[in-house]
Amino acid sequence: MDLSRRGFIKLTGAGLAVSSMGALGFGSAGTALAASVRPFKLTAATETRNTCTYCSVACGILIYSQGDRAKNVKSSVIHIEGDPDHPVNRGTLCPKGAGLLDIVRAPGRLTVPKYRAAGATEWKEVSWDFALDRIATLMKQDRDANFIAKNGAGATVNRWNTTGMLAASAASNEAAYVTFKWARALGMVTFDNQARV
């Protein structure tokens, strides 16, 4: 732990000097100011119901974020614990769920679109427009070049199998369905998810 964390352990009331004085027989002034416990950190945090992102037990969680959603606040998650009302987990969380805060705020969280050109040795930060324009162009080029409208027997098959997709196992149903619509409307067949692994 680093020194800044000592702030959390700071207790209200008297410091060492005062309480030592009390102990040495200088009256009860010291104890009257004695330390109390660490202040409860969630008193005014905003509580939001959510579901754990890991396995399929789908434990109910309560996400606590700093701020009351006022206009001038960018809320950030400060603590996550189990939803005691949830019929399955009843407030409990496993070691992954109990540490969810560290995945939301992981140093490995991505914040900027990046691009690596063919043969390049480095990432470059790019704009969303650059990334999406370029991806759409590459996809269209590949699709137009390799789309199979009819098979050898002359049957309509409208299939595109040279670009594939793996869909997200932790994305919501809504993201999944929109992904499905887009991928299948393009004729994409090399399309799978994490169900097998």
Binding site: S28, A35, V37, G99
Partner: protein, 307 residues
């Protein structure tokens, strides 16, 4: 219990004053760790780190599931794993959540020379008030369970607080809430003992004839208790003491060392560390121990005591 302030103290380290207290009608709390339900998942460790904003150093794998390898200033609870084969060759994986036992008669508090660095609340929680801690390490020597750890960074002693900040606002400790299988329960000490009784009866039905409650009388009982399938051999569980006792060194505190240490504290108050000053032979007598037990009884009766 609206809060855990001085009026809720029943004991305060190195203090010859009784904290003012009219709040003696206090529910004694306890955490019950049912080892037979524990799956060693470390959710308690995870929740403890998360709630208390602790992130100890990431260590290496060293041929054991214990990570970190031991309690440390940022690891207030630790799952300990023991692969045990009985005489018949049956394998049991005995997994125990280690951490502060919140003794009724806390060796750490008795040993502590820093006024108010260790307090015991009327509900049974033994808490370290870091502000007052001088990092002398006496609590480590005083603890029969080898729990407190001194930080090399800030020279303060740390251990489980039983989430006194959560308990203080009417919540259960973080480890209790998170425990997936209900191996950690929390409530009044009486309720926990009743529940332990049911669990022990069930374990006996399943063939664990020596199942029992670990609430060692040697330290006046504890506010963290275990249900063990082999209560006849607590040491099977990664060295849980069969008969915990407060080090003989601690009793000496009652005698001639206390004035010396307190004198030292005057220096401590302006920044010196006492552990370099307090040194010398330590002895104890049965009378000291008896006196301590008497004090404890009085404390329980009155809801307050002087240490």
């Amino acid at each position: 219990m609206a809060d855990l302030q001085s009026q809720d103290y029943i004991r305060r380290s190195a203090t010859n004053l009784t904290p003012p207290s009219v709040r003696h009608h206090e529910l004694e709390v306890a955490k019950l760790i049912d080892v037979s339900r524990c799956i060693g998942c470390k959710a308690c460790q995870s929740a403890c780190m998360e709630w208390n904003n602790l992130r100890p150093e990431m260590e290496e794998f060293q041929g054991a599931y214990e990570n970190p390898h031991d309690l440390n200033p940022g690891t207030w609870t630790l799952m300990r794993f023991a692969e045990y084969e009985d005489e018949q060759g049956n394998l049991e994986w005995l997994i125990r959540k280690d951490g502060c036992m919140h003794c009724e008669d806390p060796g750490c508090l008795k040993a502590c020379p820093a006024p108010g660095a260790i307090v015991q609340y009327a509900n049974g929680i033994v808490d370290f008030i870091s502000e007052n801690c001088i990092g002398c390490g006496y609590c480590v020597k005083g603890c029969p369970f080898n729990i407190p750890r001194i930080s090399a960074q800030d020279h303060k002693s740390y251990k489980c607080t039983l989430c006194s900040d959560r308990v203080g606002v009417g919540l259960e400790p973080a480890c209790v809430k998170t425990c997936p299988t209900g191996a950690i329960m929390f409530g009044s000490k009486d309720d926990m003992k009743d529940w332990a009784g049911e669990r022990i009866a069930e374990l006996k039905e399943r063939g664990f004839q020596n199942a029992g409650l670990y609430d060692p009388p040697e330290v006046g009982g504890t506010h963290v208790m275990y249900v063990l399938h082999h209560a006849d051999k607590p040491s099977l569980y990664s060295g849980l003491p069969d008969k915990p006792h407060i080090s003989a060194l601690v009793g000496a505190w009652k005698g001639f060392l206390k004035p010396v240490a307190l004198a030292g504290l005057a220096f401590a108050a302006v920044g010196a560390f006492v552990h370099s000053i307090v040194a010398g032979p330590n002895e104890t007598t049965e009378a000291d121990e008896a006196h301590a037990r008497l004090e404890m009884e009085k404390a329980k009766r009155n809801g307050s005591a002087e240490s």
